[in-house]
């Protein structure tokens, strides 16, 4: 046992909570995150759930994890953790590989009995040796201590055991010097309606904290540096909630009510949940009978004059394809949110991937171009959901927003925007003079080639839309060959002109480097961290991250042409690389790909970039 307290000062730390899926690891992790954000840390989280709702207790398949990075310059939830909390033997087995060198493991030693080891398929009775763990392991009798703390509580045994996670949380709060009061506040929010449960958890939280204090001589504690973020009011937000809120902001900014037609699907369902709650802001969120009805009801709402959205994940996007084609033909605004997960087919429903890019770009019959955008982080989901709506409405087109499980479920601290921070969205209302003179035609176009968008019920604006090819002006059915080609070209050009209406691509990292690392969507944090570490170690790398996929920002070609060595890193077999390659046939675009249902680690990206740089 060490005699003196060892305090480590770090700019950021990563904590991984792991346990059985019934152990409440997501709750403990979330409270720790919120408390940390409240003291001024940046936070980034990664909930890692099993696909099964309730796998057998104590089994390897039932392990649930929650990783959070807190501190300064936090772009990702971290590749590996400084502190691993393992509530049972199975959790340790599944998660010890995520521990950094020099990190600390805290285990509930009461959950390492012979039967626990057997359930987790250990072959010896020495679990730490068997796993080859060299790190410091702090063995805490979490279960025993929790039971002791609640001996007089009057709660039944099962309810007592449910408080184990909060004992562990108390211990972790002590370890990182987090204020207990703040954690109590979050417990109150969670359990306020059940006073007995709240009292028990509050008691156990304090017991965990005190336990840490009493053993402090034997374990390192951490002090995390904070930075001064931009002044303002902050909240903790995950990507799916941010997406929902971005849509509401867009609805406020365009003055059209928000309609969501959706069908539950992992990992997108939280968008439906959040918008269903937001009836308090006038949102109409309809859970339809299937994915197709989700998108079709949204198309109906769009024709009626609402800002219309459907939310889904990859398999659902496949089902919606035909209807998205209808919105292309009818030239109606429609936002389609795809929170990507591992595929094909049912694939890996709870895991992240970027494998729907080609489906979003091309997965429809006929020449059927749509705009595609992709948020870079949980908080960027707000901005890009807003952008998707703005582009859809002002350009009269379907827009696909490619989020993913990693940013959808991950959370960060987010500064609440001021009321005037986002621009007004200009709805293309039919000009009154055209209506009055009766000269308006449904397929008349504005300068950006978008149609006008009358609200159904407007007198004089009755018109008929449909999936059959339309006359280029009158909008009546046309089988004329030349008209069809003209319309195909107009629909294509309409999407291309969006490039004039989106921000230009920015270069980060060392702009003068020979190497350009390209990414898109939810990998931003990991790629940025990799680029920062490469530049810090004397390997100059520039970075360009795409949030606008179709069309690309107007300066994208010029930037890509400028760099002799271009590398695209993405969580698929090279879809964005292929997309860029056909614009630069002569360029040898290199690729870094990962298709494991997991995000990149910054370390592996930096290593692979360095290797490509060494090769030539």
């Amino acid at each position: 046992m060490l005699e003196k307290t060892n305090v480590k000062v770090l700019d950021k730390v990563v904590v991984r909570f792991s346990g059985d899926s019934g152990d409440g690891m997501q709750l403990a992790g979330n409270i720790f995150t919120n408390v940390s954000a409240g003291v001024g840390n940046q936070v980034s989280t990664f909930p890692d759930y099993p696909a099964e709702i309730r796998a057998p207790q104590g089994s390897l398949g039932g392990v649930s994890g929650f990783q959070v990075s807190v501190g300064h310059d936090v772009h990702t939830p971290g590749d590996s953790c400084d502190v691993l909390l393992a509530m049972n033997a199975a959790a340790l087995k599944q998660n010890h590989k995520f521990l950094k060198e020099g990190g600390v493991i805290i285990v509930d030693i009461d959950s390492f009995r012979e039967s626990d080891l057997k359930k987790a398929k250990y072959t010896t009775d020495r679990p730490f040796e068997e796993l080859g763990i060299k790190a410091q392991v702090v063995e805490v009798p979490v279960t025993t201590m929790t039971k002791a703390a609640l001996a007089d509580s009057g709660l039944d045994a099962k309810s007592v055991l449910k408080c184990r996670n909060i004992f562990a949380l108390g211990l972790v709060c002590w370890l990182f010097d987090r204020p207990v009061d703040a954690a109590l506040h979050h417990l109150k929010k969670k359990f306020g309606k059940k006073p007995a449960v709240y009292e028990a958890n509050a008691k156990v939280l304090q017991a965990g904290y005190d336990y840490g204090h009493n053993i402090h001589a034997s374990v390192s504690t951490y002090r995390i540096e904070t930075e001064d973020p931009r002044p303002g009011v902050y909240t903790d937000i995950n990507g799916n909630t941010a997406t929902a809120w971005g849509l509401i902001m867009a609805s406020e900014k365009c003055g059209r009510p928000l309609f969501l037609g959706s069908y539950p699907i992992t990992p997108a369902t939280d968008i439906l949940h959040e918008l269903a709650k937001r009836k308090d802001l006038g949102v109409k969120a309809c859970q339809m009978e299937d994915e197709i009805a989700g998108v079709c009801s949204a198309i109906g709402a769009s024709f009626a004059g609402n800002l219309a959205v459907t939310s889904t994940s990859g398999p659902g996007l496949a089902l919606k394809s035909e209807a998205i084609g209808l919105a292309v033909m009818a030239e109606l605004p429609l936002v389609v949110i795809d929170v990507q997960r591992g595929g094909p087919s049912t694939g890996l429903p709870t895991k992240t991937e970027q494998t729907d890019l080609m489906q979003a770009l091309y997965g429809r019959n006929g020449e059927s171009p749509v705009a595609v955008v992709a948020p870079a982080s949980p908080t960027d989901c707000f901005t890009m959901a807003f952008e998707a709506c703005r582009i859809a409405v002002e350009h009269m087109t379907p827009v696909i927003l490619l989020s993913d499980a990693f940013i959808g479920n991950g959370s960060s601290a987010w500064r609440i925007p001021d009321a005037d921070e986002y621009p007004a969205i200009k709805t293309p209302d039919v000009p009154a003079d055209l209506l009055a003179s009766g000269s308006w035609k449904p397929y008349m176009r504005r300068e950006n080639l978008g149609r006008y968008w009358p609200v159904a019920g407007t007198e004089g604006a009755q018109h008929r839309l449909g999936g059959l090819e339309k006359d280029a002006v009158a909008g009546s059915i046309s089988n004329d060959p030349a008209n069809h080609e003209k319309m195909v070209n107009i629909r294509r050009e309409k999407i291309a002109r969006i490039a004039d209406d989106i921000p230009s691509l920015k270069i980060q990292g060392d702009a003068d480097a020979d190497t350009l690392l390209i990414g898109w969507g939810g990998t931003y944090g990991h790629l940025l961290t990799a680029v920062e570490s490469l530049n810090a170690s004397g390997k100059p790398v520039a970075m360009a991250h795409f949030r606008y996929i179709n069309p690309l920002p107007a300066n994208a070609d010029e930037i890509i042409a400028r760099y002799p060595r271009v590398i695209v890193a993405e969580l698929n077999t090279g879809m964005f690389a292929d997309y860029l390659q056909c614009r630069f046939p002569g360029k040898n675009i290199r690729r870094i790909n990962k298709i494991q249902g997991q995000p990149f680690s910054a370390g592996e990206v930096a290593e692979k970039v360095a290797k490509i740089m060494e090769e030539n």
Partner: protein, 337 residues
Amino acid sequence: MEEPLFKAADYKSDQAVRWCPGCGDHAILNTLHKAMAELAVPPHKTAVISGIGCSSRLPYYMNTYGFHTIHGRAAAVATGFKVANPEMTVWQVSGDGDGLAIGGNHFIHAIRRNVDINILLFNNKIYGLTKGQYSPTSDRGFVSKSSPYGTTEDPFIPAELVFGARGNFFARSIDVELDTSRQVMVAAARHRGTAVVEILQNCVIFNNGIHNDITAREIRADHTILLRHGEKMIFGADGNHGLVRDGFLLKAVEIGKDGYTMDDVLVHDAHTTSNFLHQQLAMMDGHSLPIALGVIRDVESPCYDQAVSDQVQEVKARKGFNTLRDMILAGETWEVR
């Protein structure tokens, strides 16, 4: 007499009607124009939404808001449209293939939710636009291009599907019965909730005469019964047949024969909550019992679009947020100065 607000012509578009000469759709379209004029909902407050098929071309011939969508999905599009813009009167036009095969799921769920839309289901028991395949309402053994040896499956009976989905309005007409068609369309539009009107329609090219055993002029009076709420269930060329109870079933009798008098003949109650008798009436097939025309069931029940709007108003008033920012600031936040 007062000048009517709208004429049938006000609901007609300038597009040339492209159905085959002799198609039953022409009569239904003209009847719909007349029904709309009678309802006097202005054309700009009316929307007609269809799927794919011959009948689904109908919106192009209307001077209303119109949407010719994709195969089978009209009910879903109409649901979103009505929820988003409840002030509109919404009609859906589908055929038996569009509504009951590819669109069967949306059909039953629209009825279950009781969205306030009027579904005109044109039933000609054939796929016409694809040139003659059997449909989900074709009888077992029906010979078509895709069933050259006869089908080996049973059909849906649309009314049975409507009742299975807990429908609260069901009416039936025949394309050539112009008055009945107009009356049931008007009743459907006045009903709040999903109203299904099945129209037995003749495809003159691919299934000519499919309803002849019921609709042929010389036998129609004996094979059909027009139901009117509050009136006796009388039918027959001479008006001397009626429907009576026979245990739990219905029986057609000749009044004055076998001891049956007018007092034994049932009175139609379209508004009774129980659908037990409505189902029996709707399932009569024109053979042992006459096929029922007119409004068979018309029962008020909460409708979805109205309930959604009401809930939005109630929750908004209770929470009192004006903007997204208000709502977020009322939650868990912290300030950095």
